[in-house]
Amino acid sequence: MPQNALKIKDHADLFNEPEYQALLAEKRANFECPHPEAKVQEVIEWTKSWDYREKNLARQAVTINPAKACQPLGAVFAAAGFEETLSFVHGSQGCVAYYRSHLARHFKEPSSAVSSSMTEDAAVFGGLNNMIEGLANAYTLYKPKMIAVSTTCMAEVIGDDLNAFIQNSKKAGSIPQDFDVPFAHTPAFVGSHTTGYDNMIKGILTHFWEGQTRVEGDGINIIPGFDGYSVGNLRELKRIFDLMGVPYTILSDTSDVYDTPSDGEYRMYSGGTTLEATRAALNAKATISLQADCTTKTMEYIASKGQQVFAFNYPLGVQATDALLVKITELTGRPVPEALVLERGRLVDAYADSMNYVHGKSFAVYGDPDFVTGMARFLIEVGAEPVHLLATNGSKAWAKALEEEMAASPFGKQAKVWAGKDLWHLRSLLFTEPADYLIGNSYGKYLEKDCDIPLIRLTFPIFDRHHHHRFPTLGYHGGLQVFVKLLDKIFDVLDAKTSKTGISFDLTR
């Protein structure tokens, strides 16, 4: 009997017991009509070949293991960063269950959002009644300060008009006339979650800014973009801006939303950018986006209001942080304080201590375009060599710019940038042109297993490792986290490799 009450085996051990191994083998042989083992091996080997790679890269129609989600996820994440704001997603209800689950699995936190629960009759007659009833219920039950409306693809296909629907709902008395209900159309068949983020931030700013006259002040707006590390990163950025004495507003501050304490109270709402600050953000001197690709339309809109706008690409490491601080100094006249200068020196010091372990190591990186760009720059900064840089939701323009930038560096010159490709493409790339390490998210574990390339999890979503997002990756402190993650993996791999013979299994490295 495989089980033992005193030393209980769960799935990780139980099914390796001989009774279960025999059961699985017999099931396969007798009931599954499996392909012959030799055939399976042949196909396994074939999928590693250049021949397969060419077929795989030539496909035009099917997408396999894409590293992107759909617009409303980004909209729900963006809206979550505003004070006591409830996302209301107009369309089918299953979508909302999915966004909530997805965010909860990454942050290990509650994730609230409601749906207008449209079904077949709404598909025929439109979802106005669902909106009227839904807004009233959400407002009454959950008492939000603001309801941010986005859409699932169902509502988009049938062409529901959010602006008109919200006005009608107000007329019908669902919610008070003056209640804040910004909205964004977020069709899932356009762009990805980063597009949805962009649309929702723009929708919220439009809601608060239209009709106001801008009076330029000296504040700086920061738009973080879709970031699974927002908890750690936004706290770190706030610390940096406070040290610099810069007046700032973070537009969509999810740091306290996705990191509430366990003390006996459930806080459905926590933190977030206040509505007042959001309204006042029109008067900022400038807006800085930390992820250009997440904020294309938003930045256009802000620029049209007369603000200076500057977009970064998820600034990781020393030089990217330098550039961000230089820009803030330029805009505000506030010098970089001694404390940050010291932090910078400490990060450079860490690089100096350990660079020989990362120098010349090759990396494949995938994720959202800004993350991939930021990570590629980090790698060449420490002497590592990016070889494959892939973003399923990256544009051709993004790929061209990054490839040119990498080509100019002796460490980046071999990098190939893959826009619009998915993780099944990456599998072929890694088999034919391997990298020493892979940087991505939890989905990369399948590539790690198939291609035997160690995975470093540094971007959303991370489901199978806990709490990393509570630590920053941005700023000099964040750079240290990123660097240590690379080093830890490299050292673990080195120990595993040398433990077989004991030769080179060194105590001090």
Partner: protein
């Protein structure tokens, strides 16, 4: 059906208090919604053979229903685990993304080669596909998949919302391409807006098995039959549940010719109708197809429960009663063989869990089926409810629940939170969306969809894990440090 359990503890819940709670939560709604929600909330009693709730009705907009959609019921539940077929999430990228590898349907085979369960294959609809239709793209996708995954045994098309709205003819594409590649191609009309929950997706997925697998012309997987052939139906092998069930059925001398659909294969789907007895675990998601096999092929079916030793023993006896004396004797031997394990598990954990109260809110079969497993550990169920049950589920539940149990159908986030806050059970078993709000309150929680990444929970081997996990949840030292010392003093 609830199988009589011999040692269920006698307890009764505070029905009056639960009635009061229902009043309290309804008071928070606008009137019209309160009236609608009132039908879904009840307190169990002898006079309520359906637990006193209405079910399988549209969710109210804006209340934060916990339910999913038809696509989730088909791709996520019924079809997704069939391992040697490639399942296309047909439409925009999101649905396949969020459901990618989340249900822990364990399977053997090599991912991407002869098993495709842990992959997200999608037509990734763009605006032009919505405008011009996606049928041509679908045909190309099928060609590409068959080319890149030559060992696939077939393909299913899991429709997302837009498919049914733009008038695509996926059935025609399926017929044409199936002839070309000489493999089954199964179009499933499980668009998320159909029906009121996951449930219609199960039904549509079941019908697709009937229409596109059973009724498909051409050679099918045959196997020599024996008088002892059974199937496991409605077990999705979450954390290996179907395997820890299969081992018991094999031990009593039965031959499990098919698993539906956890660790299942096309051959096993095709072989279903040859079974002598269909054993169904999750009645809700697969009763349609067992009823069809009963009507068309005369195959009897039996609902069983492999959660917890009382129901496992009762189920094994009930299953064996359909076979000859050898099987009946074997069932007794197997029950006796595992008794020492059960005794040891109870000796270790029952003293730590006895009298602890539990609230459940899950889907499928679990809001009733796991109750007795908790009761085997001495725990008491104070409230339970289903995401997407029908009346027949609540009828089946009535014999499981004790008097005065709080019943909540399609509970809203608001209601569940209030119920938990006021009842303060020792444990809540529900899903990922409910986990963190509950834990913040200081109330122990286990995910009862994914087994909180543990399992299996089925069978005797699974019961030991179940008991261990509930003990971890309830008796972890971390619950005692929620309050800071200066708060305690206050």
């Amino acid at each position: 059906m609830s199988l009589d359990s011999t040692n269920a503890p006698a307890y009764q819940n505070d029905g009056e208090f639960h009635q009061q709670l229902i009043k309290e939560v309804l008071a928070a709604y606008p009137d019209k919604s309160a009236k609608r929600r009132a039908k879904h909330l009840s307190v169990s009693g002898a006079d309520k053979p359906d637990c006193g709730v209405k079910s399988n009705i549209k969710s109210i907009p804006g209340v934060m229903t916990i339910r999913g959609c038809s696509y989730a019921g088909s791709k996520g539940v019924v079809w997704g685990p069939i391992k040697d077929m490639v399942h296309i999430s047909h439409g925009p990228v999101g649905c396949g993304h969020y459901s990618w590898s989340q249900r822990r349907n364990y399977n053997t085979g090599t991912a991407g080669i002869d098993s495709f369960v842990t992959m997200q294959v999608t037509s990734d609809f763009q605006e032009r596909d919505i405008v011009f239709g996606g049928d041509k793209k679908l045909a190309s996708i099928i060609d590409e998949l068959d080319d890149l995954f030559p060992l696939n045994k077939g393909i299913t098309i899991q429709s997302e919302c837009p498919i049914g709205l733009i008038g695509d003819d996926i059935e025609a594409v399926s017929r044409t391409k199936s002839k070309q590649i000489e493999k089954p191609i199964v179009p499933v009309r499980c668009e998320g807006f159909r029906g009121v929950s996951q449930s219609l997706g199960h039904h549509i997925a079941n019908d697709a098995i009937r229409d596109w697998i059973f009724d498909r012309k051409g050679p099918k997987a045959a196997v020599e039959t024996t008088p002892y052939d059974v199937t496991i139906i409605g077990d999705y092998n979450i954390g290996g549940d179907a395997w820890s069930s299969r081992i018991l059925l094999e031990e009593i001398g039965l031959r499990v010719v098919a698993q539906w659909s956890g660790d299942g294969s096309l051959a096993e789907l095709e072989r279903g109708p040859q079974s002598k007895l269909n054993l169904i675990h999750c009645y809700r998601s697969m009763n349609y197809i067992v009823r069809h096999m009963e009507e068309k092929h005369g195959t009897p079916w039996l609902e069983y429960n492999f959660f917890g030793p009382s129901q496992i023993a009762a189920s094994l006896r009930e299953i064996a009663s359909h076979f000859d004396d050898t099987i009946k004797e074997n069932a007794e031997k197997v029950i006796a063989k595992y008794q020492p394990l059960v005794d040891a598990v109870l000796a270790r954990f029952k003293p730590r869990l006895n009298g602890k109260t539990v609230m459940l809110y899950v889907g499928g079969l679990r809001p009733r089926h796991v109750m007795t497993a908790y009761e085997d550990l001495g725990m008491q169920i104070v409230g339970t409810g289903y995401e997407f049950a029908h009346r027949d589920d609540y009828q089946r539940t009535a014999s499981y629940v004790k008097e005065g149990t709080l019943i909540y159908d399609d509970v809203s986030g608001y209601e569940l939170e209030k119920f938990i806050e006021r009842i303060r059970p020792d444990l809540v078993g529900s899903g990922i969306k409910e986990k963190y709000p509950t834990q913040k309150l200081g109330v122990p929680f286990r995910q009862m969809h994914s087994w909180d990444y543990s399992g299996p929970y089925h069978g005797y081997d699974g019961f030991a894990i179940f008991a261990r996990d509930m003990d971890i949840a309830v008796n972890s030292p971390i619950w005692s440090i929620f309050k800071a010392p200066w708060d305690k003093a206050a």
